[in-house]
Amino acid sequence: MSSDVLAIQNAEAASRPWVETLHEWVTTVDHKRLGILYILYALVFLIIGGIEATIIRIQLMRPHNDFVSPQVFNRMFTMHGTTMIFFVAMPILFGFANYLVPLMIGARDMAFPRLNAFGFWLTALGGFLLYFSFVGGSGLYGAGSAPDVGWFAYAPLTSRAFSVGHSADYWTIALLVSGFGSISTAINIIATILCMRCPGMKLSRMPLLAWLNLVMAGMVILAVSPLTAAQIMLSIDRYLGGHFFDTQAGGSATLWMHFFWIFGHPEVYVLIIPAFAFASEIIPVFSRKPIFGYPVMVAATICIGFIGLSVWAHHMFTIGMNSYANSFFVFTTMAIAVPTGIKIFNWLGTMWGGKIQFKTPMIFCIGFLLQFLIAGLTGVMMSVAPFDWQLGNSYFVVAHFHYVIVGGILFCLFGAFYYWFPKITGRLLNETLGKLHFWLFAIGFHLTFDSMHIPGLLGMPRRIYTYEPGRGWEIWNLIETIGVFVQGIATLIFVANLVLSYFNGPKAGNDPWDAWTLEWSVSSPPPVYNFASIPTVASRRPLWDLKHPEDPDSHYE
């Protein structure tokens, strides 16, 4: 039935001029199209942020290098960090949430479709503003002056005296605008999940992806809002002569640190929880077993959400807090490893005894499990305040959080691309290219980020422009840079795979993975209205019930 409808749509689309198609995409309020727009937008910025990372790594490849000037180097690491967090990771995860959540809970759209479009276009405007700083930062005579205050923009570096021109303002406004976009999308996700579920989809039957995105959206609301407040204060300081972070007038630079990290650390969980969500959908399907410990997974996620809001000052051990504050943040930071560990054991429990199929989405998730474990272990190491005093602001920290973000989040994201690309486009991605992508990327990742720990331990500070030879850092920095190029090639293979498979990939059909959640019950790509008639569910795996009427899950749950 759905495919008949689709055929009619295609016939219509073929006869339409491209301007109309473009107009449709720009004015769309359809959650699937907005999801795709988010993802494409983030992929463009992924390439830009990747180029910036490559420039940083080429500069650090050998001692006394002068591939770029110190000023450009500062702009590159600032733009790399800001881009990757705000204009790659957030939008791409929102894109998947937008696309998948309504389909998985049996809804026809998000709760507020127009708010959804508003959120996307705000995010898009934010990214544009950030990059406009290259030409607008100091007006035309100072073209090329992007923000250079680092991605956490510590005071007093952002004061008028140290950041002349408007580059820091573009940074502020870009984050403010995209922050409003993120908050509106988060509101939308929560309202959708709470108010738009199909009959029978009780909270206890919801796919884990929906549960985890619910927690993620809650954290966005509580974490991005403080950043918004802090950016308003910074703007007041810079434009109205306020003194929030002006130490000359009694203001406090430490207060900015607190405000930034009250956002900054929950943000990490905002990014990793959707990645957990992908793993929680992919691992069961390719292990041919239902998820192990569903209620515990939900509880652990909520736990992470709560504890994640109270760990921020572990970013600030080195500024000299009192011993009570230090102990509190040491303990909360260590405590958060517990629910995270529970999750890892649950994924392993899901795989245990399963009939594992090593398809590309699955191997990316297995890579994620190993790498995220290591990332978590270095995290626990640094939660010990004295250890952090030694290594704070070193390349060890850089290695740790890239292990989380690249080794954890990006690997899950790649898995999600291979898993849901057939649903979004109707065609499967190429498996051979996919495996090549995985292995090359994994090798490149480990070359870069395993070796990055060592110069950190040897005392190499982050954000350093260049370094003296003879400190034992050279060889590791060279290996890191080589790894970046391997990752670059792997990413090109991924992009090629996306493009080639979009045009020539084998047809996917409704349900290429023999999966269990509602999105696989509709055609690929799904019709505009998602479900011809709203489905009714009786268990956590509605498609299993449908395929196995003799032994449905609803008998056991």
Binding site: A186, T192, M196, G200, A229, A249, G251, S521
Partner: protein
Amino acid sequence: MSATTTPLPGIPGAWKLPYRGKVGMACLIFAESAIFTIFVVAYLFYVGKSLSGPTPREVLETPIFYTVCLLSSSLTVHFAGKLLERGRRGAFLLLWVLTIVLGALFLYGTGQEWHRLIYEHGLTISTNLFGTTYYSLVGLHAFHVTAGLIMLSIVLFFGLAGRVGPEQSARVDVLSLYWHFVDAVWVVVFTVVYVLGR
């Protein structure tokens, strides 16, 4: 492919979920509360840390009358909603107008206080830390009152055009939730600025 329409066992008789408008507004209120929390923390953190005058004790006067205005507007908006639900449009509009008037009075009070502080005491946002934190916190609240007044006025115009009936009562309730939030924030701001901060 129409498989999803196949009825499955265990369909609940009545499937009722919360109203999305209310949930959305509740989320917005959480987000706004987080923003206000940061401003309140900054205000409390900087109490008494200004390097130069004027200080709150010297210049602030407690706006009792305007506070009463704003807080009672919470009551009027609540009863307006109740009346609309029962279909009494005329009474609804009357209380709605009263809400707007009370809100506008409060805003006028804030404006008057700012005028006095600026022209009599020379306190601006860039004078000292007190000025910076005071104007941004009270200003952020006044901004929310303004936004609320605009939304209330839009409903008033539709109401005068005869377009607001009992069928819109759920939507009106969402707006009234926002207005209650604005009032509740004022209780916090009032306590922090006029009681604790002096």
